[in-house]
């Protein structure tokens, strides 16, 4: 467990700031060399040449949210698995590899049963249109 200096995080901070400055800077440069001729038509939303009609929000498929929920569960699961996976090799060398293997299998099997349940109950199906008439 080597110790480190917090300076290793400097490129992270610098990169984020430089990226933000790049965006702001390019827009600023453009601000001075861009034309600015606002007409009413330009500022309407684009709808293939027709006048835009109705609000942009319409009934959205509830599947988006279910997918998001399942994703969060798997995300947390992978976040928990990462340290265990990183330490598997070391434990293998000590000789306790079997223990870690069994733990990983139990962990994964619980989650696999979860996704199997969602699969069987049709939560993973993507309904093509929520309002589609029954055929």
């Amino acid at each position: 467990m080597s110790s480190y200096n917090l300076d290793v995080y400097m490129p992270v901070a610098i990169l984020m700031i430089v990226a933000a400055l790049l965006v702001v800077g390019a827009l600023l440069v453009g601000h001075f060399i861009r034309p600015h001729n606002p007409t009413k038509l330009k500022y309407d939303a684009y709808e293939c040449g027709e006048a835009p009609e109705g609000s942009a929000w319409s009934h959205f498929n509830i599947r988006f949210y279910v997918v998001g929920l399942i994703f969060i569960i798997f995300d947390v699961e992978s976040a928990l698995m990462f340290p265990v996976a990183a330490v598997f090799k070391k434990m293998n060398e000590i000789g306790r590899g079997g223990l870690v293997l069994v733990e990983i299998l139990i962990f994964l099997s619980v989650l696999i049963s979860g996704i199997a349940y969602c699969w069987r109950k049709g939560d993973l199906d993507w309904v093509k249109s929520y309002q589609a008439p029954k055929e």
Partner: protein
């Protein structure tokens, strides 16, 4: 772990002497100040090179697609049209900036910013060469996964902020696609982490050999499948065809970036091309041996070694980049329900199966690759006979 380009430079006597002389001049210890300066210059270099790669990526895409479609592609601006991306850049900057009246102005401006920050922050841990990585964080690959999810938020907000039906639909599909395909990608990376025993990019790369049969892709059958799962997931994460439904040209006009003009659109496009490069670089590092040079050529001569390693990494990444462009112009686009079915019903179970398989392999064969098992142990047996 936790090396960085500064720790690599610190091994040279010239750098140490330089730091000492600057410290003598200023009066206090100049190590951290010079660390900052070195990092800053390195970051500027990397950002410029990446922007160049992003621009050349557009050119390469047009030329390769032209080649695949038996036509010429850009060949007017500069020799063989190579300066086309500069002309495009100038065009984008000089376009009028239109923010739609009904849009959410704050989110409209923030969305490309989030995409750019998310993609450029992943460059901090990309393993260009063993000494030239910007930094080798302990949590390297996990950090990369975390930061690249900012792109998903950016795409979604871009679609929402435009307040147009096409954009909103494109944005939602884009976000759903990105978060769904993050699962097989993460699970494939987990399989490699199990085999390599660490999260830092250096550990993951140096668990392999430079020669092709020492690469992780040929380590065991599970990682072989894992490479393809990762590659497909990476294609989907960066909204590249055949997964480019969020920006589907024939359906949604231009999806989540319909209403973006000029430079703002250029940021989305640049973020996408750089993200493809980063994901190809990650695939090369995890599965294809990263920056390792076959037979460790150049070992002992630091500068030559770094140069060769950089060349190795860039070659592999650009080869994968070519494959990405090739796939785009070959395969038709997937429908949204096919996309979700592919992710949740095919890739995720396969990736889980890979992870379990790699865990078993790690336990039973102590993480030795197929080649080591087949040939090295065979040699031992042969030696034992004599």
């Amino acid at each position: 772990m936790n090396d960085s380009i500064v720790s690599f430079l610190s091994e040279f006597a010239i750098y140490k002497a330089f730091v000492a002389s600057v410290s003598a001049k200023i009066g206090f210890d100049a190590t951290s100040l010079l660390t900052f300066v070195v990092f800053f210059i390195a970051v500027l270099l990397v950002v410029n090179v990446m922007a160049l790669i992003g621009g050349l990526g557009t050119y390469a895409e047009r030329k390769i697609s032209a080649d695949l479609q038996a036509r010429q592609g850009p060949n007017r601006v500069g020799p063989y049209g190579i300066l086309q991306f500069l002309a495009d850049g100038v065009k984008m900057i000089t376009k009028e900036d239109i923010i739609p009246r009904m849009s959410d102005k704050f989110l409209f401006i923030v969305a490309p910013l989030l995409c750019m920050v998310g993609v450029f922050a992943t460059l901090a841990v990309l393993p260009f060469a063993s000494g030239l990585m910007l930094t080798d964080l302990n949590i390297g690959v996990f950090y990369m996964l975390g930061v690249s999810s900012l792109v998903g938020v950016g795409i979604f907000l871009g679609g929402y902020a435009s307040n147009s039906k096409w954009s909103m639909l494109g944005g939602m599909r884009g976000a759903a696609q990105i978060i769904s395909y993050e699962i097989p990608v993460t699970l494939s990376i987990l399989a490699i982490v199990v085999l390599s025993g660490g999260l830092s990019m250096k550990t993951l790369v140096e668990g392999q050999l430079g020669v092709p049969w020492g690469w992780n892709i040929f380590h065991n059958p599970f990682t072989f499948i894992g490479f393809f799962v990762f590659f497909i997931g990476a294609l989907a994460e960066s909204n590249r065809a055949p997964f480019d439904l969020p920006e589907a040209e024939s359906e949604l006009v231009s999806g989540y970036h319909t209403e973006y003009t000029g430079m703002r659109f250029a940021f989305f496009a640049l973020a996408e091309y750089v993200e493809v490069f980063v994901l190809c670089g990650l695939a090369a590092a995890l599965f294809l041996g990263g920056y390792l040079v076959p037979f460790n050529l150049g070992k002992g001569l630091p500068l030559l070694e770094q140069f060769l390693q950089l060349g190795s990494f860039v070659t592999k990444t650009l080869l994968l980049y070519y494959v990405v462009i090739w796939v785009r112009w070959t395969l038709p686009r997937l429908r949204v329900d096919q996309l979700m079915t592919l992710c949740w019903k095919y890739l995720t179970p396969i990736a889980l199966f890979n992870l379990i398989g790699c865990s078993f392999w790690m336990y039973f064969f102590e993480g030795k690759s197929l080649w080591v098992l087949l040939f090295k142990s065979g040699a031992k047996v042969a030696a034992g006979h004599h």
